[in-house]
């Protein structure tokens, strides 16, 4: 699905200017470079080994099959952040999107994750998602703050669910953002019913 309104320029809090655009076929090498540069500790929270070529190919195929909405932020042709919202195409949770955001250490704490996540929440909502979830480890305080700003709330805690690089077990928090109310208002508006009927 072609995403409208991209590429888009984003100015970070420190004045850095980045370009945000949809992830596309041919981005595999740049994505691998981005993830291979990321410290292993930062990659632990990802569900896949994002440093391998088969992963990169599978990821692009998922985007091409509309199973994922994905954006990358670039500077000088180099990817410095990637954000993806996975959307199941069938089944009982087809209305739920799962969000993941990864930002290079050099570009953190500048509002980039908030900007990317915000864009994806908007895109997903427009494309039919009613609920968006994201998993955050308990000690990822900046991420928790970012998602809280975007309207996410803690919905579940999976105790000792993840093990960090030192082997310590930590809680995994499932945050969710129920965005169904946005389009519920539109649905009421197109109901073509007389107010007196209700």
């Amino acid at each position: 699905m072609k995403l409208e309104g991209f590429p888009r320029s984003v100015t970070l809090r420190d004045g850095t200017l980045l370009t945000v655009r949809p992830t596309k076929g041919g981005d595999q090498a740049a994505l691998l470079a981005f993830y291979r540069e990321m410290p292993q500790e930062d990659r632990l929270f990802l569900k896949d080994d994002v440093t391998t070529e088969p992963w990169a190919d599978r990821f692009i195929r998922r985007i091409e099959r509309n199973e994922a909405l994905s954006l990358v932020a670039e500077t000088d042709g180099r990817i410095v952040a990637e954000a993806t919202l996975y959307r199941p195409q069938h089944g009982w949770s087809a209305h739920v999107g799962e969000l993941r955001v990864a930002v290079a250490r050099s570009h953190r704490r500048k509002g980039l994750a908030t900007a990317l996540a915000g864009m994806l929440v908007k895109l997903a909502t427009d494309q039919g998602a009613d609920k968006i979830v994201v998993e955050v480890v308990e000690n990822q305080v900046p991420a928790l703050r970012t998602f809280a700003k975007l309207g996410f709330q803690q919905e579940a805690v999976l105790r000792g669910h993840v093990r960090d690089i030192r082997g310590a077990r930590r809680d995994l928090l499932v945050l969710s953002n129920d965005v169904s109310h946005i389009w519920a208002a539109m649905e009421a508006l197109v109901a073509d019913s007389s107010p007196e009927v209700h």
Binding site: K122, G128, I182, M186, V190
Partner: protein
């Protein structure tokens, strides 16, 4: 423009009334014309016949009911069966081409313009914006209201947070309408 009578017909849940309201609002509030809206619902909201009568004029409108529309905007076969024959000879029929089959029963000289609006709405992400695609199509084909006025009317009429998609839906219908109108019916 003396007076243009428009009827929008479809099923409850397709946003027929909102479509009419947006056209009227664009004409009256943002284009500085006069407009009236009459709405008719079936006994149930969703799935029952539903129509809106919109009159747009440069002068004050003395009689708001539409008997023989200059423009028909139809989104269901039932609406076509009911309102198709009432179209003014030489009038324009704008219809959702995957939901309405046009036959030979239209008045003489009728111009017909079809659009796969439901498919467009689904491709944009939400079937719910079908009526806004149709509103854009109306604008592109007829030019009765300005694009700017329609954009303002849509923004002012849809819920917060849905503006972007609704604007894309409007533009989709508008561009399709302009291309269809340029080719002729």
């Amino acid at each position: 423009m003396a007076k243009t009578e428009i009827r929008i017909g479809g099923l409850g849940g397709q946003g027929v009334i909102l479509c009419g309201m947006i056209i009227g609002k664009a004409a009256a509030i943002y284009d500085g014309k006069h407009a009236t809206l009459i709405q008719a619902f079936g006994p149930e909201a969703r799935g029952s016949a539903c129509s809106a009568q919109v009159t747009v004029a440069d002068q004050v409108i003395g009689y708001p009911y539409v008997k023989q529309p200059d423009v028909l905007v139809l989104m269901s076969q039932d609406a076509y069966a009911q309102f198709g024959p009432t179209l003014k000879p030489g009038g324009r029929l704008l219809y959702e081409e995957e939901l309405v089959k046009v036959d030979q029963k239209l008045p003489a000289g009728a111009l017909t313009f079809g659009i796969p609006a439901t498919r467009f709405a689904e491709e944009l992400g939400r079937r719910l914006v079908l009526n806004i695609v149709m509103a854009g199509f109306f604008t592109g084909v007829t030019g009765l209201v300005s694009t700017e006025a329609m954009e303002k009317a849509v923004k002012a009429s849809v819920p917060k947070g849905t503006e972007d998609l609704n604007m894309r839906a409007l533009r989709k219908g508008l561009e399709f309408g302009q291309s269809v109108a340029a080719k002729g019916n």
